[in-house]
Symmetry: C2
Subunit: 339 residues, 2 copies
Amino acid sequence: MSTPLYFSDDLEVDMEAFVADRYSARFVLADTNTRLHAEPLAKALNAKLLVVPAGENHKNLQQAEKIWQQLLNAGADRRAVLLNLGGGMITDLGGFVAASYKRGISCIHVPSSLLAMVDAAHGSKTGINMGGVKNAIGHFYPAEAIFIHAALLDTLPLRELQSGKAEMFKHGLLGDAELWQQMTALPAAARPGRALLERAIALKTTIAAADPTEKGLRKLLNLGHTFGHAFESYFMYSSTPWLHGEAIFAGMLLEARLSNRLGLLSEADLDEIQRVLQNWQPAGKWPPLALILPWLLNDKKNHSSQVQFVLPVAIGSAVYDQAVSVADLEKWYPQLLEG
Amino acid sequence: MSTPLYFSDDLEVDMEAFVADRYSARFVLADTNTRLHAEPLAKALNAKLLVVPAGENHKNLQQAEKIWQQLLNAGADRRAVLLNLGGGMITDLGGFVAASYKRGISCIHVPSSLLAMVDAAHGSKTGINMGGVKNAIGHFYPAEAIFIHAALLDTLPLRELQSGKAEMFKHGLLGDAELWQQMTALPAAARPGRALLERAIALKTTIAAADPTEKGLRKLLNLGHTFGHAFESYFMYSSTPWLHGEAIFAGMLLEARLSNRLGLLSEADLDEIQRVLQNWQPAGKWPPLALILPWLLNDKKNHSSQVQFVLPVAIGSAVYDQAVSVADLEKWYPQLLEG
């Protein structure tokens, strides 16, 4: 789990130095959004470029199969390397493909979104969606290295940048009160600097390293994700899909309110959390419980008809494996929406 | 890699005792050949039965996706268990499915063919075929336990039983001269007893444990498989497909002759190997090199336009990473076919 992390100002030079002669063939995976950055990188590295359609709804088995076929057609052997340049969709999908191609080839992540830089690219999770379930199929498979090239954030749409901050707030809320404070002090449209990125990444990698396959402690990182994944899945095929981070902002808000209702979070802390998170909530009509319940119950983190939550107990502290019955959820959910 | 191995005379009783209350839900995977055995087992264990069409040509992504969908539809969580009852096709496919479902659920192999009992079920390899390449996609993913129920061999067609002996001869040839001798002494139609099974399994598991991800030593287990996989792939979609073991018998014969030609195997040992293996060769016209070369070059074990072989250097000893150029293969192959 000790994947080396590099902050790089010149991706082409630094990656060429890292890749050197360690691999039999080089492939760069990108999506239609990141191909602009991927084309010059692939050219500089003399790598073959593979491009998939952008969007979480393409993080699926059909795209994985296409990439496997392209690797097979190119004669890639088990010493090939796959460089995944993109957001969490690409690092998840590319990691998934690499984990299974000829029983595992090396992959290197170059996260291009804020969300992937501070969260998705770290911690060895790979995944694709299936049957409407996020990351239903995947592995724990470590990347060989992760390169952070912060300049990639400059071309990120503002909505994407802001969505990525959800995971940084989350890391603060669940385990680093000072990170939470620093995030609240950052102007809404500002790009976080290296110190903030490093702090948010450190929280993630420390927890993932302590519990790589999510038997316990690592579940903390799912704060905001029980409701969040359900919202994201529900809206995924709608005309107004939510970004992952937007769904997590919503999930954190509802889970803070739920925690308060269960007596686990003080009014004062809830007030502060609400004050901050209310600025970040996605617009539009939120679905009633009945419509998101299928996802709540099929969440990987659950193992019965109860729903397991991660709940904040203070700013900088959370608890996992908090079971709430469907009956209680049905009773409380309308109030959670209202605050 | 220390997967527990159980020899069981009463599968229903022994598996119920093992499974007990360790899992949230139980699934039995079988194919249309083994469903006869799987139905009563699933019933006794109160497990859901999943059945795929028999045959190596169904060890593919489409079948894996169907099983994943069935697990999702049944609400299986990450504490579910998949019991794979079948030949290597089922243990490979079921292991593949288990390795990726919700980032990995437990699986237990119940190999029903001789080949799977002594080889395929052991050593943590999972795999599906893609683009005509055997096990192009897969993982190293250990089963939670392996149950050997030798009575399953009694309903195995003779051709399947004999095919399975290929891996036992192979284990003898590459690392256990006494096993080789015992196998040559066994009548052609006889089912090997427990002592022989244990000996053949021990060779496999010892080597796999010493080198779980096949960086070196484990490559020895691919003796006979460079030519063998190519033959098997070539004939897979023909009207007369070869069984895996038949292809391995052919591969071992050609690779012994190749080893002798390279000066690595004595005439006396080659004579003995030929004397034994010639009884086991598949009938029909063997393909010319040009038609199997694509598979030889896309074999996972190769990493250039040379072909890497495992070659026997004596009865009970072999060497790996033996590179032979395509030019030399073109020159020698017709003679290898003739002996």
